[in-house]
């Protein structure tokens, strides 16, 4: 594997993505969601619902992660849904696949550029968000908390990038590329609670009260199968005990490793077999 070549291609692609129309759409969206949530949630005068606590900088960041889940993951969909299908439909994929480069190198370069196109602005805006929280609350987020938040956010976007690129490699027309891309995003972002409730009902777990301790413990386990869920479980590790769902760190770590490796391997294997 020639990592130098992979990175050179990824950054070449990234340069074009950062100047694209899609970035023009995404950049203000991310700015509003990330900076707006960090600023608004850390405002001492803000009135939040009683069930939501934002007393420490990290708790504010944890709440801001909900806005990242909505905006940044949608950004990955925006960049990734046609990451492969567009090149395939236009015939340019055939040219790239015929070049003297290993297919896994090409796959990795496409994946890294899609990931970084969203991860870099998200991380930069999150760091500015941390500064905004300091300005509002007069207290810095600890290095460990900030590191976990930024690392988990980068990982979440990486998982989404892999899912989107895999979905795009399956699509043979623009309609299915959109359907697969948006469908995967909707499943994990919007519909996952419903999926959790359905599974709970099927397994006989009490699901009428989603705030009950039994359901929360169950939902934590189901969340291991969702990138959004694992992201939140990772972030909950640094929350106070009464705010987290207290699932074993071993399970969360295992899910993190598996979510990082399995989709990546599946995507590279899929790309190695892809035909123009």
């Amino acid at each position: 594997m020639n990592f130098h070549k992979v990175l050179a291609l990824a950054f070449d692609d990234l340069g074009q993505r950062t100047r694209s129309l899609r970035m023009l759409i995404l950049a203000p969206l991310l700015t509003l969601f990330i900076l707006g949530s960090c600023w608004g949630l850390s405002d001492p005068d803000a009135t939040l619902p009683s069930t939501i606590t934002a007393d420490t900088p990290y708790e504010v960041l944890f709440l801001a992660s909900l806005f990242i889940l909505l905006s940044a993951t949608l950004g990955v969909v925006l960049f990734g849904f046609d990451g492969i299908s567009k090149a395939r439909l236009s015939g340019t994929l055939a040219i790239e696949l015929s070049q003297p480069i290993e297919r896994k190198e090409l796959a990795l370069s496409m994946l890294i550029s899609t990931w970084l196109a969203v991860a870099l602005p998200t991380i930069i805006l999150s760091m500015i968000g941390i500064v905004l929280i300091r300005l509002q609350m007069g207290e810095w987020t600890s290095f460990a908390d900030a590191g976990l938040f930024l690392g988990a956010t980068a990982l979440l976007l990486f998982w989404y990038a892999v899912i989107q690129m895999y979905a795009s490699s399956l699509a043979r027309d623009m309609g299915s590329a959109i359907a697969l891309g948006i469908g995967a995003w909707l499943l994990f972002t919007m519909v996952w609670l419903l999926v959790t409730v359905l599974i709970a009902s099927a397994l006989g777990v009490e699901s009428n009260d989603t705030s009950s301790a039994v359901f929360e413990a169950f939902s934590a386990k189901v969340d291991l199968f969702s990138p959004n869920g694992v992201y939140h479980l990772l972030l909950e590790m640094r929350l106070a005990d009464d705010l987290s769902r207290n699932i074993s760190i071993l399970w969360v770590s295992l899910a993190t490793v598996l979510w990082t490796i399995l989709p990546l391997v599946a995507f590279i294997r899929r790309f190695e077999k892809i035909q123009p």
Binding site: A94, I95, S98, I101
Partner: protein, 341 residues
């Protein structure tokens, strides 16, 4: 020429057609493909891949550049054997591929596209942009390029790194006549430098002007291959004689010498004769003498070289196929007739 040969030996491939069912959404069935394709080409040749639609030309090119894995067979070049070009990426350094009908689009520019491909090839773009006539447009967005300009970009993409084998799928499509001539000239120059070029095209007139060998394909198989004259001989298409003259009706007399294939009588007469034994000089002299004796005045007599369309028609045994192939050439003629009306 360095004496190296490109040899394709027993290449076979069947397309997998998706047949999704509820019970198995990923089900496939075997579709058409190519079967046991073998031929060999001296280095520096320009070879025309000719065949009707669906003959397997593009599939063969895909196998030869590693886009699809062959079910069986191998490609040999310069004493090296490539059984699995799809995974032998270093071998693909020798091959440049220009696919058919690439729809370059987006805000990127030809210069950026070629830069990206040069990173993959670890080679310089050099003066390629100038060579294909894209210099004045190299920093314009792809969306603003005409079909012909996009075709030139595809050609430049195939030529990065000076590959020793060029595989061109329908390279003349979308090019204006001047650009077509320029491409023909460029291909001849590359061939002189030792680049082996395999061109698939339905524009047979353009193809015929440059190729020194042809591979005729039909239904995924090689029907015949070799140098143009050899193929004409093999197909018995070197036995036709064109004769033109004035005065009288030569029909009966000409029929004594051979089979009358075509005959027309406008401002004199013109006929095409075929004779299975061929036409010796003595036979031609004899024919001219007999025509003079009968009071007719022949003013042109020459052996007629069958063109690629006729070769294809003869090889496949189906006239309809040659019409299909020639369709692209016929369109301008039809337009001209409409204008004249």
């Amino acid at each position: 020429m360095d004496g190296a040969q490109l040899r394709v030996d027993g290449l076979s491939y069947r397309h997998r057609i998706a047949t999704p069912r509820l019970s198995n959404p990923w089900a496939t069935k075997l579709g058409p493909g190519i079967h046991n394709i073998s031929f060999s080409i001296p280095s520096g040749s320009i070879v025309g891949l000719v065949g009707p639609n669906g003959a397997g030309k593009t599939t063969l090119l895909h196998l030869m550049c590693g886009l699809r894995p062959a079910d069986s067979g191998r490609v040999q070049f310069d004493n090296k054997e490539w059984k699995d070009l799809k995974n032998e990426h270093s071998a693909r350094r020798n091959i440049g591929f220009m696919p058919d009908n690439v729809r370059w689009q987006g805000t990127s520019t030809p210069a950026k596209i070629l830069h990206r491909l040069s990173l993959m090839r670890e080679a310089e773009v050099g003066d390629l942009i100038e060579l294909v006539g894209l210099k004045s447009r190299c920093n314009e967005s792809l969306d603003s390029l005409s079909a012909g300009m996009r075709q030139r970009l595809s050609l430049a993409a195939a030529m990065i790194g000076s590959p020793r084998i060029l595989l061109l799928d329908e390279p003349f499509t979308g090019l204006d006549p001047v650009a077509q001539k320029a491409l023909q000239k460029l291909m001849l120059q590359l061939s002189e430098r030792g680049t082996t070029i395999i061109v698939s095209s339905h524009l047979l007139l353009e193809l015929e002007a440059i190729v020194d060998r042809v591979v005729l394909l039909n239904q995924g198989q090689v029907i015949i291959d070799g140098e143009l004259n050899t193929v004409r001989k093999k197909l018995r298409l070197d036995r036709r004689l064109i004769i033109e003259g004035s005065n009288g009706d030569p029909n009966e007399l000409l029929s004594e010498f051979g089979e009358l294939i075509e005959y027309s009588a406008e401002d004199g007469w013109s006929a095409t004769l075929e004779r299975s034994e061929g036409w010796s000089i003595k036979m031609r002299e004899d024919l001219v003498k007999r025509l003079h004796k009968a009071g007719m005045t022949p003013y042109r007599i020459e052996a007629r070289l069958a063109d690629l369309a006729e070769m294809l028609s003869a090889a496949t045994g189906e006239d309809d196929i040659s019409l299909t192939v020639a369709e692209a050439m016929m369109v301008p003629l039809q337009r001209k007739e409409v204008e004249e009306e």
